[in-house]
């Protein structure tokens, strides 16, 4: 116990909190969240047009023309936020600050398998994740892929006469089918997966708010993103506690940490030692 506390002390001395997301990233998430909510609110009633709740929503928003107007306004905002995202990546490339932390790799598949073994009890150690684990990458790339589909099919539906100048007419109803199918898929993934991952999961309940605060606690980064933690503060991977084996030790170490002010660190810049 003392041994573990001693070892963790060195780490906790570094910082109590780490900056996980920049202001820009937090705003991007907020914007995506608002767009997603409004687009679903104004889109789903069109898909399920017979449902009485759909009729209620449409009438409450002042009729189908208003609903479509709002849908297109927020679709435009979403499109611009997508461009912003790509632009921000481009800028970080130019500045030499870009890193591949979100890039999918073979390791993610291995991690998923290890996690499966851990969950069913075949193994006692969790995979050790970097800045983003395979579940977060899955969500990110899901939004990228889904977002591209929604934007392309949405624009096809918005400007069908332009789309059919080159493409056959059938792409318009196909785009509608795809737009509504992808929307439903996105909604269900968000309400099951994302809500669980960041709010309902016992590991995070009542919620992991780092995407809003931008901060991640010392113990959380060590627990959930150990490889990133090592990259930030240095140290030895083997020294990190394994929660599955010694959950009490981690809890103790977190209480052990001395209060220090939040640092300015990002994943690009290792925190002060």
């Amino acid at each position: 116990m003392t041994d573990i506390a001693m070892r963790s002390r060195r780490a906790t001395l570094v910082q109590r909190e780490f900056v996980r997301f920049s202001v820009g990233q937090r705003l991007e998430h907020l914007l995506t969240m608002v767009c997603f909510g409004v687009l679903l609110l104004t889109g789903l009633p069109q898909k399920f047009s017979d449902a009485s709740i759909s009729i209620w929503v449409v009438n409450s928003l002042g009729g189908i023309d208003n609903v479509r107007f709002v849908h297109r306004v927020f679709a435009t905002v979403f499109i611009f936020s997508a461009f912003y995202h790509v632009g921000a990546i481009g800028l970080s490339l130019i500045r030499g600050k870009f890193n591949l932390s979100m890039a999918p790799s073979l390791r993610d598949f291995v991690d998923a398998l290890v996690m499966l073994r851990y969950s069913v009890g075949l193994s006692n150690s969790k995979p050790r994740f970097g800045r983003y684990d395979y579940r977060q990458k899955f969500e990110y790339w899901g939004i990228v892929y889904g977002g591209i589909i929604m934007i392309v099919t949405g624009l096809t539906l918005w400007f069908p006469t332009y789309a059919t100048r080159i493409l056959p007419g059938e792409v318009v109803p196909a785009a509608k089918e795809m737009h509504t199918g992808e929307a439903l898929l996105a909604l269900l993934v968000i309400v099951t997966w994302h809500m669980y991952s960041v709010i309902l999961s016992p590991s995070h309940f009542p919620g992991d708010w780092s995407i809003f605060t931008g901060k991640i606690s010392h113990e959380k980064i060590k627990e959930e993103h150990p490889l990133e933690y090592i990259a930030l503060v240095g140290g030895d991977l083997e020294e990190l506690p394994d929660r599955a084996q010694t959950p009490a030790a981690v809890a103790a170490s977190s209480r052990d940490g001395e209060p220090e002010q939040a640092g300015e660190s990002t994943n690009d810049e290792p925190g002060k030692g």
């Binding site: 006469t161 196909a174 269900l188």
Partner: protein
């Protein structure tokens, strides 16, 4: 000319009935009804030359053929005095009318003594709106039903169309050329709509209002979504469903449920298929046959190009043979959504299971 008194008795009576053919007997109560008997009336009104000159210079005939009346729907029920209650004294009370039209519009009020319900319906009709706007020639009961030779119009679709054609001749000409009208004309087909099927009978509404436009979809669907009726002619009864599932139909569907009245810019059935001149969809002149579809689309989508019309699946449900891209996209999501969600829920369950065991 105010207070003009007109003596009705400008003619002499000629005794006896102008009998021709088999004439139904007058109602048994004939002798019991108050006032004048038919014999007394006919003493004057069986003269074919009996007429009345009006201040306008017009002359109206006062002749009534009792045989025609007896063959009418009222023939075995009513006698002259049952309707013409105010003329039971001789000489008849004076009339305060100037034109023949004034006279007819005054006399038709007699109908409401029995047919009050239908009379009040006409007060809600767009014909009455035209009257209210000052047009004396908008139809009243007797214009469609006649005064004395009243028949059951509802029993003859051909007769209904002809009745309306007295005023709406140009529309009638279109209608008899249409798929509906020609079937009525040539074979007396009872399934096809006549004027009143779509426009209503006594409370006929304007067909150019937003409300009529929105309701028209369901009006067409009354027949065209009826499987039994459509199968008889080998026509799809899926047309309403496929319309309502597409962009145009969804819009109209929501407009129908909106509390405020909206003019639907989106097309309803008759915008593409035609109104009174509606043709079979395989007629070379049909606006919706493939060769003619682009100009039809361009009425609303002026920048549409040759590929555009096939964006509309022509009331077909997507299938492997028809609109396969749409079909496979739909099937893809039907497969992907449940698989994905079940997979994610399993992942969540495993996670929870492990966390529970860790405690």
């Amino acid at each position: 000319m105010g207070g003009l008194a007109l003596a009705v008795l400008s003619v002499l009576a000629r005794a006896g009935f102008a009998s021709a053919g088999r004439i139904p007997d007058p109602p048994a109560s004939a002798q019991a009804t108050a006032g004048m008997s038919d014999e007394e009336c006919l003493r004057c009104h069986s003269d074919p030359n009996a007429s009345l000159s009006l201040p306008s210079g017009e002359t109206i005939s006062l002749y009534s053929d009792p045989a025609v009346f007896r063959r009418s729907v009222h023939g075995d029920k009513l006698n002259c005095a049952d309707c013409h209650v105010r003329n039971q004294t001789v000489p008849h009370p004076s009339l305060n009318v100037v034109t023949a039209r004034d006279f007819h519009r005054a006399e038709y009020e007699l109908c409401k003594r029995c047919h009050f319900e239908n009379y009040t319906r006409t007060l809600d009709s767009m014909h009455f709106d035209v009257v209210a706007a000052g047009n004396a020639y908008a139809p009243v009961c007797t214009d469609c039903h006649t005064a004395h030779s009243v028949m059951r119009l509802a029993e003859s679709h051909v007769q209904i169309a002809k009745t309306c054609s007295q005023c709406h001749g140009a529309i009638y000409d279109d209608y008899v050329q249409s798929v509906h009208g020609s079937a009525l004309q040539s074979e007396g087909n009872p399934d096809v709509p006549v004027c009143t099927t779509c426009h209503g009978v006594h409370n006929i509404q304007s067909a150019t209002t937003a409300a009529f436009r929105l309701a028209s979809v369901d009006m067409c669907a009354q027949c065209h979504a009826s499987k039994g009726l459509m199968d008889k002619y080998g026509i799809s009864s899926n047309v309403l469903k496929t319309y309502l599932n597409d962009f145009h139909g969804k819009t109209v569907g929501f407009y129908q449920k909106q509390s405020s009245e909206v003019w639907a810019e989106t097309p309803v059935c008759f915008d593409c298929h035609g109104v009174h001149n509606i043709t079979r969809v395989d007629d070379p002149n049909s606006p919706v046959i493939k060769e003619n579809l682009l100009p039809t689309c361009r009425r609303c989508h002026p920048d549409a190009t040759a590929n555009f019309p096939s964006a509309w699946l022509s009331h077909y449900e997507p299938s492997v043979n028809r609109a396969p891209i749409v079909f496979f996209v739909r099937e893809y999501y039907r497969f992907l959504i449940p698989v994905m969600i079940v997979g994610l829920i399993m992942h969540i369950s495993l996670d929870l299971w492990r966390l529970a065991r860790n405690r």
